[in-house]
Amino acid sequence: MTAPGPASPGLARRAHPLTGLSTAIAVTVLAFLVPPPWGPLLLYGASGVLVAICGVGRAIRQGVIVCLPLWVFLFLLHGLMGGGPTRSLGPLTLSADGTIAALVQAGRFGAIITASLGFYHAFDPSRFLNAVAARGWPMHVSYLFVATLHALPAFLDRAGASIEAQRTRGLRYRGGAWARARAVVPLALPLILGALAEVDERAHALEMRAVAVGGKRTPLDPPADTLADRTIRWSLLLLVLLALVGRLTSWPM
């Protein structure tokens, strides 16, 4: 996985950062509000189309990779072990209700993961910080948010360096499952210990750079919040509210 941000020059990167965040949150909430069985599946499809249009289509493939183990688990849990009427599919006997339940859950997770990955790939830490500073978010809150999203690529960079360092010492980490399993400890241990050793120094640096001072941060170059951005965010809010009303009034709790 690459660092979030600069690699995606599409629509998502041009939009106001809070629009992307709102979209990811709205999809997450809608996934549990839209009526099953078709609602979550359609939402998943819509999320895929949306990230593709916004220029972060790689989120679709990565979403499938992330979700696949979960889908298999859901299928085993609900499809093969569910109750009610059954149908035969080749050598498998599937619970009809269980299979639908598995599809619903798979659709929900697929939509959430795809939208979140789309937001992640479009995420530009600096733009986001400027956008939320312009909104008056406290610095320590926005930094926590940004640093969390930024931690993974930084950790992966370090992991890459660690792998190279161990390779030069003769560690063989390719091959069968046993060879890979044996390589885990020498690869992971320096990574984790190194990260822990740096915690103090990072904390000192952030303290001295006034991250925890509180008060309002000055936005350096706040991104434009266009009419289109605001319209999208209000529309998403309206959509969520409508779905909530529908959820409370139409389909069983």
Partner: protein, 279 residues
């Protein structure tokens, strides 16, 4: 009046059984570069952390005695709130904000956090980049910088505050010779303009001519304190400290082989002094 004072300060880390600082009473004066010099574990870095209010607030541990920084207690709220402290460590990569897209944004990061008006931030950041000679890096991503460029960026990130107090732990360790000279010149200029510069370093050859005062620490206590030209020339710094400059070391080693008044203490500290002595 001294703007940074330590009065009977002892400090012990939480997991330790010994005092890293042991009854330290010191005053640091405006307009001076004070160089903290000592063997590993002498307490130089800890002294800087205590002065900055980071130890024990962040590190844990026990502090005894009183520290005053610009007339205030840095332990109470942390010195960053004062906006007048330049703190630089030997690991610049860990001092980056991690979220700035460009070097300019990295330099502007702290003043923005302090809520400075944008016009003031712009002029201060541009000035800091000029001071460190890294204007050409302004639009580069900090992730793409070399070690030396990174270190200068980090120093610029503190110079932007125009600090009244500089707390520096090996601030030139990643720099080449010209970069080190330029950086020390910057600190000299800051001190001449009235700042307090406290600098921990092993770079004896360079700092012997830059610092106004050297304090040699050993086992958490100041054991020698004076002008570098005097302290570094004596035998005591070899017995109770980490040694001296290359020239002083050469003279001392040669004096052990050949008995000559030309090779006796006080040793020449700089090349120029050596030339005068041995010409």
């Amino acid at each position: 009046m001294a703007d940074v004072t330590f009065d009977g300060v002892s400090f012990r880390y939480a997991a330790s059984t010994i005092d890293v600082l042991d009854g330290v009473s010191l005053e640091f004066r405006a307009g001076e570069i004070t160089w903290l010099f000592g063997p590993l574990g002498a307490g130089c870095t800890t002294l800087l952390l205590v002065a900055a209010g980071l130890a024990p607030r962040h590190t844990g541990g026990t502090l005894v005695g009183a520290v005053s920084l610009l007339g205030r207690d840095p332990q109470a709220t942390g010195s960053a709130r004062f906006g007048q402290i330049g703190f630089v460590t030997a690991t610049p990569e860990l001092q980056l904000s991690g979220i700035a897209a460009t070097v300019w944004e990295e330099v502007a990061f702290t003043p923005a956090n302090l809520g400075w008006p944008i016009e003031r931030i712009r002029s201060a950041a541009d000035r800091a980049l000029r001071l460190l000679g890294i204007e050409h890096l302004a639009h580069r991503s900090p992730r793409t910088l070399s070690g030396g460029e990174l270190q200068r960026t980090v120093i610029a990130s503190m110079a932007v505050l125009q600090p009244k107090v500089w707390l520096l732990d090996e601030p030139a360790s990643s720099l080449d010779q010209s970069g080190r000279i330029r950086t020390y010149e910057l600190f000299r200029a800051e001190a001449d303009a009235g700042a307090i510069v406290i600098l921990a370093s092993e770079d004896a050859d360079a700092l012997s001519t830059v610092a106004d005062r050297v304090i040699v620490l050993n086992d958490g206590r100041p054991v020698l304190d004076g002008a570098p030209g005097v302290v570094l020339a004596g035998d005591a710094i070899w017995d109770r400290g980490p040694g001296s400059t290359s020239i002083a070391g050469l003279a001392r080693a040669a004096g052990r082989l050949v008995e000559s008044p030309l090779l006796a203490a006080p040793y020449p500290v700089t090349v120029a002094e050596g030339l005068v002595r041995w010409r």
